[in-house]
């Protein structure tokens, strides 16, 4: 690539075009009049698309183009957004305005940017026709992330004999190993970022967190129409909807695209514009992280393959340290959340070390407890949840003397109200969800 533009000085971000042929979707973007950035999404063994599904597929593909653009838009955050095919209808523009503003809120906070008023997708296009039901087969795409949540979702669906496929985007060997362990049929979709993005990074592009769950959701919507699935069941908990922090009057939530607001926006949009019988939901939505970890604690066969650590382990080894870095908030949270539900030696064998007996990790666990710090920018449970788990451990003899549990007892606990630290309430389902009737029986798995 020979462009020498400084991405931070660009003026327009353009959605140039998108196309699909032979299992490959091409999504094309550009800054100003710079070179085209072409992303490719590869759908393996893609079947021929029935004519009846074409319109739905085109809508899903178009949405994918618009959503996946967030990876590129954020490199320059130019003042103007242009869609070459013409302005969007109101509901689509609303979805994208919300996604780009809230999904990039952490990115903006960390880079000292304010995106309010800056993100405005062109609107005023024709209202899209109402989508029909496509009679999609009663089977479910379950995205696998390598962590505990999606594995719980898989087992919940398996427990009611539901037909499902384990799907993942990208080539993580860890996820592949987990997907294989589920025993379900698998689907591995590949996403190739435009090489030009690496070049833009070298030229000083803005960098940071993007709402990757939204991108993956849009990819799966395309896949659902292409391969024929009537549901996409993510594994996002209740706590994903909670903001990480509030800054300058704006809620910043690291997991916004895993939250219920986005689930509703996208779910409704797919219903209205893609297929009336396509469901997009999270199977874990009524549950807390603790309820999910409790369910996971019964799934011994996954203990030596899963990892929620968000260090990207592109190379897998057999040791726990090859899957758990032990340093990041995800490692800390999952360790803490599993601890009340597993025998201590079993838990320690999963992680290969005792994170709660390492004084150096005190700041990390403090942040989880929201003690002297805000919740980390990670997909972790709520502070109150972490405090309940820690309190439970502090009451158990086999944990009490570990450095950080002992510190909790002496320093933090006296400042808390014990009445608010009970574990039980966290294990009860609560709040809204969009789980279709066909899958609701699977929720018994969490009892």
């Amino acid at each position: 690539m020979t462009t020498n533009i400084n991405p931070r000085l660009t003026q327009v971000f353009r959605f140039v075009r998108c196309s699909y042929a032979d299992g490959v979707a091409e999504l094309v973007y550009a800054f100003d009049h710079g070179e085209e950035l072409i992303e490719r999404v590869r759908f393996p063994h893609a079947p021929a698309l029935p004519g009846t599904h074409q319109a739905a597929f085109d809508q899903a593909l178009k949405l994918l183009h618009l959503i996946a653009g967030v990876s590129y838009y954020k490199a320059g955050v130019p003042p103007r957004i242009e869609v070459v095919g013409g302005p969007l209808d109101g509901s689509t523009a609303d979805l994208l305005d919300a996604l780009y503003l809230h999904g990039l809120a952490e990115f903006a906070y960390r880079n000292g940017l304010d995106l309010r008023g800056r993100i405005a997708f062109p609107r005023g296009g024709d209202v899209l026709p109402e989508a029909h039901a496509l009679n999609l087969p009663h089977r479910t795409l379950v995205p696998i992330g390598g962590g505990k949540d999606s594995l719980v979702a898989v087992e919940a669906i398996k427990s009611i004999g539901g037909e499902a496929t384990a799907v993942w985007v990208g080539n993580s060997p860890l996820i592949a190993a987990c997907a294989e362990r589920t025993g379900l049929p698998t689907l591995n979709i590949q996403r190739e970022l435009a090489p030009g993005l690496f070049e833009l990074n070298r030229l000083g592009a803005w960098n940071g967190h993007i709402p990757v769950t939204a991108v993956n959701s849009a990819i799966l919507a395309v896949a659902a129409i292409l391969y024929g699935y009537d549901s996409i069941a993510f594994a996002n908990e209740r706590s994903a909807s909670a903001a990480t922090l509030e800054y300058d009057g704006q809620q910043v939530n690291h997991q916004w695209s895993k939250g219920y607001t986005f689930e509703q926006l996208l779910g409704d949009w797919l219903h209205q514009h893609v297929a009336a019988d396509l469901t997009y939901c999270s199977l874990l939505r009524p549950y807390s992280e603790l309820a999910v970890t409790r369910a996971f604690a019964r799934l011994t066969p996954y203990f030596d393959v899963f990892s929620s650590c968000n260090r990207n382990f592109k190379l897998l080894g057999p040791k726990p340290a090859d899957r758990w870095c032990g340093q990041c908030p995800k490692c800390h949270f999952v360790f803490l959340a599993l601890a009340p539900f597993l025998a201590k030696p079993r838990l320690l064998s999963i992680f290969g070390r005792n994170l709660l007996d390492d004084e150096n990790l005190a700041p990390g666990f403090d942040a989880l407890l929201e003690y002297q710090d805000h919740k980390p920018f990670e997909c972790v449970g709520e502070g109150a949840e972490a405090r309940a788990a820690m309190y439970a451990l502090s009451e158990r003899s086999e944990w009490q003397e570990d450095a950080l549990v002992s510190r909790f007892r002496s320093e933090i606990l006296p400042q808390l109200h014990v009445a608010e630290l009970a574990l039980e309430p966290w294990l009860q389902p609560a709040g809204e969800h969009r789980i279709p009737a066909r899958l609701q029986r699977a929720l018994a798995f969490f009892a």
Partner: protein, 855 residues
């Protein structure tokens, strides 16, 4: 002679057995062969037992019969009557099911058929092949004894056998012939029922027979040549143990070695019957001979092992001090919760015990319940996951002084418990489990270098596992240029004047080309600190190397010699501001390694591209011990400060173009670089601007005789794998010592000799020492030392090779076996090309060594 399941499963393996038995017979021995069931048959029989459906049991019995028919078919033998009877009996048992005999007795009898059938088949094959062989029913020979605490299950499925010598059995067999075959794994109890011996049963049967018959020897024929000084999967350089006493062998077997079940040694101890482990595929190898204690060997550590998954329970209370019955109460809790204690360590107010990883511990509430009961009487702490590292050797306490470097290694770790039993056979350290995989090979190496594991005694220690079974070819030690082709020249150079360093440029080039064969590496920099001789710099520039410098002086020396096109890296550590300022005026790529540099001098670097040197330290896991990582080391930016560094870089318009991490030196394990590289790459993914990763140097150069060389092909493979996962980063390396160490030698002359302690200790003086070569004094580095003037004479005496410097540490080599020296002999110190001349000093104002180049 005992043969396991895979050894009896095919015709070629039976032909092998025939040969081995015939060869023992030819030596005049009478042979009793003990066999296991054909591989897979015992499992098939267990499955048959678990099958409730009669029809399926009959099917299973038929499939098992078919396996034997197939093998007979291969042997071109008809079904012998003995086997036919067994097969009929098995079919009947399958049909009857457990109701007649009772579940456990039926199971034992069904499973016993694996060995009954294989031995019957074997008898037919051996006899038919010209070696008349008598079939013996082991149940007529081995009598199970009833023990207290035995329930019906252990009585029938893991029985113990009377081991008193049985002359009547000897007589009975003597009357029948010279070669016998019988079954492992089975015996008979007092009521006449068939019983099994449990895990490791066939080996144990062989031992029982050895003891009953007072055999000349028990031979266990298996797929490996014997016991090793460590688990070969963890330590490929582990050596074959050729000679052990029963107690040592039992200790090694119980602490990890899988080749022999620990219980098969005790029956042999009293009748003093030796046990020999042999490799069926490689009968020419000596194997491991286990027998009564031998006194003529120097005390040596025999093995090092690690057991993982250990949980410690530490109990603290002043209440236990001088209290009668306190411990009895405490241990009653362990019994009540079904947890078995292994090791115990105690102080006045603390008792710490270890628990092995049982299912009860891992998947039940046993430990939680135990802890809450114990908490009523003391403070409890559960420490896990731990690993027990055990050194085994007779007379461990008398070897403690040799273990100082090994103990120093433990000094850097969290050691939770040390245990040493009164039988003086072992020394166990309980440490965190996550350090073990890297620690074990390192300790094994240290034990050898410290002289605690005396691999120089070839009566005790055989070849390494790598040499015997390692994948790929074993790399031969590199032939030394100075030993053959350039020897006369070196003698002339030495005769003219000493001390002198001599550098052999062809060796430098050869090493350089070897590294260039690493296809994954995009750029190589020579770490010039190892040797800054202009001729070497020039040669490496011609080979296409870049240069890594750590001071302005090094940069100037390099720029004076190499062409403009050669890339330069400047990687200082705690250097003054002006060094950076000056380096920025050169073409060198600059490396930063602390927040201070950007906080205080940020504007100096505005608009520049830099390399960031990271300390992966404990942050990413497993490098506590590596000297240039971890908070004990002054190098690198700790990973947790990375975000702060990037913010500062952004503030000052500095672009981080590369990431660099260096592990340490002398690393001979190719996996290390892949790991560092993978870690750097995963960090780089979080930083947009990175285009290359520098994984440093530290490529090891073996110094001890017999030490394996770094396997460049294996390293290449490891690096290519990581590269394939992260293709968008260029890969850089900065080797130093690897390129030049072997290319240089230090020549010195014999000055005088001296004997001390009745001539027990002999000193050989040479005309230079730590002033020219400080590595032995500084890092206890081992350099080969030879008398070049008498290279072909037999090395007869042990010498301490010392220099003329007024320091007791001025020793170039200890306990070196050399020919009788004469004043003026030219001595050669090998591997002196790296960190030799560059680290020399004018101490004592002795003349400095000249440097000579051989093209």
């Amino acid at each position: 002679m005992k043969f396991g399941g895979t050894s009896v499963a095919t015709l070629p393996r039976w032909q092998n057995i025939l040969e081995l038995v015939a060869s023992r017979r030819a030596e005049g021995a009478r042979v009793l062969v003990v066999v296991s069931a054909l591989s897979g048959i015992t499992d098939a029989l267990k499955q048959l037992c678990a099958q409730e459906d009669k029809g399926k049991r009959i099917e299973a019995a038929k499939a098992i019969a078919q396996r034997h028919y197939d093998l007979l078919d291969h042997m071109q033998l008809a079904v012998p009557d003995t086997l036919g009877a067994r097969l009929a009996e098995l079919a009947q048992l399958a049909e009857d099911g457990p109701s007649l005999l009772g579940e456990l007795a039926w199971q034992a009898l069904v499973q016993a058929h694996g060995e009954l059938m294989s031995s019957a088949l074997g008898a037919a094959f051996l006899s038919h092949s010209g070696l008349p062989t008598q079939w013996v029913d082991a149940r007529d020979c081995l009598k199970a004894i009833a023990l207290p605490n035995q329930n019906e299950r252990t009585k029938l499925l893991s029985a113990m056998v009377e081991t008193k010598p049985d002359p009547a059995l000897n007589a009975r067999l003597a009357a029948q012939g010279n070669v016998f075959i019988t079954q492992g794994f089975i015996a008979r109890e007092e009521l006449g029922r068939t019983v099994l011996l449990g895990r490791g049963g066939s080996d144990t049967s062989a031992s029982y027979f050895g003891a009953l018959l007072k055999a000349q020897r028990v031979e266990i024929w298996t797929d490996v040549a014997g016991m090793f000084t460590a688990n070969p999967r963890q330590v490929p350089s582990a050596r074959l143990l050729q000679r052990l006493d029963y107690e040592e062998a039992q200790e090694i077997a119980s602490t990890g070695a899988k080749v022999l079940h620990p219980r098969c040694l005790s029956p042999l101890r009293e009748p003093r019957v030796p046990l020999l482990i042999k490799d069926t595929n490689r009968p020419e190898l000596d194997g491991t001979l286990i027998g009564p204690e031998v006194r003529e060997h120097a005390p040596s550590v025999k093995a090092i092992s690690a057991r993982k998954g250990i949980t410690l329970v530490s109990m603290e209370s002043v209440g236990m001090w001088q209290q009668v019955g306190f411990l009895a109460d405490v241990f009653a809790n362990f019994k009540q919760h079904g947890l078995s204690v292994d090791m115990i360590g105690s102080a006045e107010t603390n008792v710490t015990v270890s628990l092995d990883p049982t299912e009860n511990l891992l998947d039940s509430d046993a430990l939680a319940a135990l802890a809450s009961d114990l908490a009523k009487v003391c403070r409890v702490k559960v420490i896990a996951p731990c690993a027990a590292i055990t050194l085994v050797g007779r007379g461990m306490r008398s070897m403690l002084h040799t273990l100082s470097t090994v103990l120093a290694e433990f000094g850097q770790l969290r050691v939770h418990m040390i245990s040493q039993s009164s039988n003086n056979l072992n020394l166990t350290f309980v440490v965190d489990e996550n350090v073990v995989d890297e620690l074990l090979p390192h300790l094994h190496e240290l034990l050898i270098t410290a002289g605690a594991l005396r691999t120089d005694d070839s009566a005790l220690f055989g070849p390494s596992w790598q040499a015997l079974y390692g994948s790929g070819e074993v790399l031969p030690p590199a032939a030394s240029w100075w030993r053959q082709e350039r020897r006369d020249e070196l003698l002339k150079i030495g005769a003219q004047s000493t001390p002198r360093y001599v550098y052999h440029l062809p060796t430098v080039r050869q090493q350089a080309r070897e590294l260039k064969s690493l296809a994954a590496v995009d750029r190589l920099h020579y770490a010039v600190k190892a040797n800054t001789h202009p001729a070497i710099l020039k040669a490496l520039a011609e080979e296409g190397f870049g240069f890594e410098c750590v001071s302005p002086g090094e940069l100037k020396a390099v720029m004076a010699v190499v062409p403009e096109s050669a890339p330069l890296l400047f990687t200082p550590n705690f250097a003054p501001r002006e060094d950076y300022a000056w380096a920025l005026t050169t073409r060198a790529t600059l490396s930063l390694d602390s927040l201070y540099q950007l906080e205080q001098w940020g504007e100096l670097f505005r608009g520049r591209e830099v390399v960031l040197r990271l300390d992966l330290g404990r942050g990413l896991g497993h490098h506590e011990k590596v000297r240039t990582g971890g908070s004990g080391s002054k190098f690198g930016l700790p990973v947790e400060q990375l975000d702060a560094f990037l913010r500062l870089a952004d503030t000052h318009g500095v672009t981080v173009r590369g990431l660099h991490a260096h592990l340490g030196s002398g690393i001979l394990d190719d996996g290390h670089w892949g790991e560092v590289y993978g870690q750097l790459a995963s960090i780089a993914e979080r930083i947009g601007s990175i285009s290359f990763l520098d994984i440093g140097g530290g490529l090891g150069v073996p110094s001890h005789p017999g030490e394996a060389r770094l396997d460049i092909a294996a390293l290449d493979k490891v690096l290519r794998e990581v590269k394939a996962a992260y293709p968008h980063y260029k890969l850089w390396m900065e080797p130093g010592r690897y390129l030049v160490a072997d290319a240089g030698v230090l020549l010195t002359k014999v000055t005088q000799t001296k004997g001390k302690g009745n001539g027990q200790i002999r000193y050989l003086g040479v005309d230079t020492g730590m002033n020219s070569l400080i590595r032995p004094a500084l890092y206890e580095a081992w350099h080969e030392i030879v008398n070049l003037s008498r290279l072909d004479e037999p090395a007869t005496s042990l010498f301490q090779v010392v220099g003329p410097i007024c320091e007791s540490g001025d020793v170039l080599g200890t306990d070196r076996r050399l020919p009788e020296p004469q004043e003026g002999d030219v001595m050669l110190v090998a591997q002196a090309g790296a960190y030799g001349k560059v680290m020399s000093s004018p101490y004592n104002l002795r003349d400095e060594a000249e440097e000579i180049i051989l093209a």
